[in-house]
Amino acid sequence: MSNMIEIKDLDANIGDKNILKGLNLALEAGKVHVIMGPNGAGKSTLSKAIVGHYDISVNGGEILYKGENIIDEEPEIRALKGIFLSFQNPVEVPGVNNAYFLRTAVNAKRKFEGKEELNAAEFLREAKGLATELGMKPELITRSLNEGFSGGEKKRNETLQMLMLEPDFIILDEIDSGLDIDALRAVSEGINKIKDGKRTFLIITHYSRILDYVEPDFVHVLKDGKIIKTAGPELVAELEEKGYTALGES
């Protein structure tokens, strides 16, 4: 199988602090990959570097997406090419209507792919149907984007965006944080819904509980700005038992 993402010697800073120190990682297409690691290891920095966040300055290395280096691409181009980040803390945008935002995004992607744009009725029918499946309150569709949403509602809204945008490569940055059992189940079902053996997932998490619902193929451990171990799902249990420190010493 080919790689959806291949990261080579990625070195990146946030401000003056060097976070990623020559990171190498290959994500096989169509698989579910998990990145685990202690606080401050660089997990969120890695996700931000992949989507082109303004906080990150890349000092060197390559991020190959479908074989093409995207390191100099604008964030919207990366998104249009099929990269999606579900944010750990989705930003609240007062005054921007959730439906309007999402339809603009969906139609931007459809236009990029040479497809016909959705009209308001088509879009709302699809969005409301998916929102219902995710257990979202219908009024959240027409409220301001994420404004006043609970933690669980924000994560459901991220999942709704993911389902509507149908990306090829999906990064889920601590999608399970702050979720109760019902929300975790709903979000996981949303993820499983679009697992089709072609899409690639990168789940960034501290804990194993989302992995009870979404089965990983590979587990990568990120520590001190580098991937220090890659293994199968059995690694999760080992980490739960022994922690990251023991792994680092081995």
Binding site: E74, P75, T104, A105, N119, A120
Partner: protein, 409 residues
Amino acid sequence: MKSLDLNAGLDVLQAFQTQYNSTAFERLNELGLPGKKTEQYRYFDIAAFMQREWTLCQTQRVEVQEGKILEIVDGVVVQAPKGIKVSYSKQRTLNVAHFDPLYYLGHILSDAVIHIEASSDAKVKIVHRFTQSKVLYAYRVMIETAPNISLQIAESFVGCEAKESFVLYGYDLHAARDARVTIIKDETLVEGIYTPVYSHFVELEAQSSANMLSFDYGNADGLQLFGAKLGRESEFNAQHLLYVKGTCKRGTVSKIIHADKNAKSRQRAKNILGDKARGIFDALIKIEPEGGGTKALQNSQAVLLNDGAYMASKPQLEIYIDDVEASHGSTIGELDEQALFYLRSRGITLQEAQKMLILAFANEIIDAIEDEEIRESVHHSFEYVYYGEGHIECIATCHNCSDSIIGAK
């Protein structure tokens, strides 16, 4: 038409003195004609309009036709709707608490005021039309309500032909006890047409309320100045949306006076400034010793779209009593970087993301208009200026009509 050389000082105004405007003369003598050093005009180049000879536009009154709107052409009423009484009155009620010398000059130069009396609930659209170039317009409107009624006035302005004219207009609003008044101004100015300096005074009797909403767009100079005097348990809300570009100077100078107990005021300004435009928010809330139990909030936010844009923001509180709740604040910055990135991370271009955030910023004021028709009209004005055409669909400014959209197709 009468020639008027304002550069010659107050003496040239003697010809306008009547028994009805002596108070205005007294106050203007005290304040003097504004110039470069006049406090209220420090951010606006008023000297350019004062130091020259003007032709004063004095239009012959015509018979008022019955129509759907109140139309004022070159300072003269040409049509008026049923339900309100419109007349001319030489007698006028001046509010000597007003700080603006041009408020008094406007009263002096207008032979009679247009008197609007609302005795029952009414919604009135006023269209001001200016048709002559290089003239000085000076006219005033006096609005009086009966007690316990609801009055909505929506003002718009048309003046493409009035190139380089100068407009001294304003209203004196007197809201009787328990009356509820909303005045909405929507004005887009294009460089080269008239320059407005509007000077209003709002007087609220006990337990009355007034909402003043102003929407100022475009790329040409203009200033609104107003005073407000709040009676016992009255409520005054002033909200201003400014969206200007080019090199213009535009904004609001105001003074809200809490003159009696338990009055509430809230003043909010949102300013979007592009190119090298200068926004003005110079606003004072004064709480008199008699104003116990006052609640007063004042806030100005500005978004600068370019390095050359500038916001002169000066919110002020002047408090002469302890028993009040009052706050004021001002922020000036750029569009929220986090929000911009979030939108871009979903495939929305930087330019489109900026537009969405600006529209959102503006919507917070536009959505304060309760009347749906007026709200949509103001939305349209904003979109027209921003996009050059009105092309936003209703889900952009959703008011929970999505079910009907789905059902309609």
